[in-house]
């Protein structure tokens, strides 16, 4: 396999979104037409070999997908799979959106201390959060809030039913000092 084709495979494998051929061309420093040709060749190759995945052209870019005829396996995987619960990261993100709405992705990211793009997208795809407004300030960031599906799932009548946040949170240093003081000797 050519280095270019291998690089395309590698990038598409780790990409979370369809990758536009223009971007691939930039990364590989080859013309976009060459990228299109290589992607077509790869797609044909996978199909001819009867692989369980395909290289699809979606939303202006390329991405790997499971082969359509294998959907029954994917469905069973989804139903029996490990993804039955919301991850801790997703729950925290959802909590921040719920309490701080309307809130921008950057603000959520600031509170959690990590990039929340993927988690926010998942929450949004599941219909728990949605774009509710645009920050009127510079940058015009999208602001997110929770949906009525969210309220429904949590059995809440309205956002006012969320447990209030404590008015006073002891400084972590104080908590630490207390812990230290109460820790049994030895």
């Amino acid at each position: 396999m050519s280095e270019d084709a291998r690089a395309i495979e590698a990038v598409l494998m780790v990409a979370e979104e369809p990758v536009p051929p223009g971007l691939l061309a930039e990364l590989l420093e080859v013309p976009a037409s060459r990228v299109e040709q290589l992607c077509q060749e790869l797609a044909d190759e996978y199909e001819t070999a009867g692989r369980g995945f395909i290289l699809a052209r979606v939303a202006g870019g390329y991405r790997y997908q499971s082969a359509p005829d294998l959907a029954p396996y994917i469905e069973r995987f989804v139903l029996e799979g490990q993804s039955a619960r919301l991850s801790a990261a997703a729950l925290e993100t959802l909590a921040i959106v719920a309490y701080k709405q309307p809130v921008s992705r950057a603000q959520v990211s600031g509170i959690r201390g990590v990039n929340v793009e993927g988690v926010m997208r998942t929450l949004s795809q599941r219909g728990y959060i949605e774009e509710v407004a645009r920050d009127p300030g510079p940058g015009q960031a999208l602001l997110y809030g929770t949906t009525s599906l969210f309220l429904e799932k949590l059995g809440l009548d309205s956002l006012d039913d969320l447990p209030p946040l404590a008015e006073f949170m002891p400084d972590p240093a104080v908590v630490d000092a207390l812990e230290q003081g109460l820790r049994p000797a030895g």
Binding site: A15, E16, V78, E92, K100, L156, L162, L165, M169
Partner: protein
């Protein structure tokens, strides 16, 4: 002999001792203990914060060393009773065992770092499933209560330990685009025109300059300034298109309220979040 603390930071007393003994390959009995301690104290003075645990542990080790050394230097060894002598050896063996353990894990840590660096060359696929399968995903919020959500928020918003070593080189963003716009709107109406490089000459961090540049673009987008740059990388001239203000009575009618205020207003239940 002067002891030169040239290594960046000794995180713990064992590190220090290890360094002294292994790196320098010295016999501690040939070294002035006071010089070591002076060196350590000098090192402490350069620290912004003294970790008392580290300091006291060093004290303990230094005391042990001093005791070992004085016993050797003092005459009248005949009088030392056997138990005491044995105790001394025991202490020494314990110290050596701890030093060996410390060294072992130090090297193991480096091995983990190498493993992680190697693993990081190969990224996993995390794209997940295509949208058409999403509807099948079982109800992931099943069993989650509002209280869980509350706890998750408290967990997420708890102040974090600021990483001490790895993020030191990252400057915090002290300036927002809004601030920079305000500053420009304060300066430009008075001078009428300005050069970007001069307007930002007081800034030190590239990030701050970027923020100011974004602010200039913001003003340009709003039609409040005209930009002119004769050549690539040349001076960027900014011309104020609005009214010329006197320095003291300037007013910014279009100024956005600060983000905090906006959020308060947009949020019906703001009183929940003191």
């Amino acid at each position: 002999m002067p002891y030169d603390v040239s290594t960046p930071v000794f995180e713990g007393p064992f590190d220090l001792l290890l360094h002294l003994i292994t790196k320098e390959q010295v016999d501690l009995y040939e070294v002035s203990l006071s010089a070591i301690i002076d060196g350590y104290i000098e090192h402490l003075e350069h620290l912004e914060q003294v970790d008392l645990d580290v300091a006291t542990e060093f004290l303990l080790i230094a005391a042990t060393l001093i005791e070992l050394k004085t016993r050797r230097l003092l005459p009248g060894r005949d009088g030392v009773d056997l138990d005491e002598e044995l105790g001394l050896w025991e202490e020494r063996d314990l110290l050596i065992a701890r030093l060996i353990e410390c060294k072992t894990f130090k090297d193991a840590g480096l091995a983990l770092e190498r493993l992680a660096a190697r693993a990081a060359r190969s990224l996993p696929r995390t794209a997940g499933m295509e949208e058409r399968f999403l509807a099948l995903v079982p109800d992931v919020l099943a069993g989650v209560t509002a209280l869980h959500l509350h706890d998750a928020y408290v967990r997420a918003s708890a102040p974090r330990q600021v990483p001490r070593v790895d993020l030191d080189h990252v400057a915090p963003i002290r300036l927002s685009v809004t601030d920079a716009v305000e500053a420009l709107v304060d300066v430009l109406p008075r001078s009428g025109t300005g050069v970007f490089r001069e307007l930002t000459s007081h800034l030190e961090q590239p990030l701050e300059i970027v923020v100011w540049f974004l602010a200039v673009l913001e003003l340009y987008k709003d039609g409040r300034v005209e930009l002119d740059q004769a050549e690539r990388f040349g001076a960027l001239h900014i011309t104020w298109l609005g009214e010329q203000h006197e320095p003291l009575d300037h007013q910014v009618p279009w100024e956005e309220p600060a983000l905090e205020d906006r959020r308060e207003r947009a949020e019906p239940a703001a009183q929940r979040f003191p």
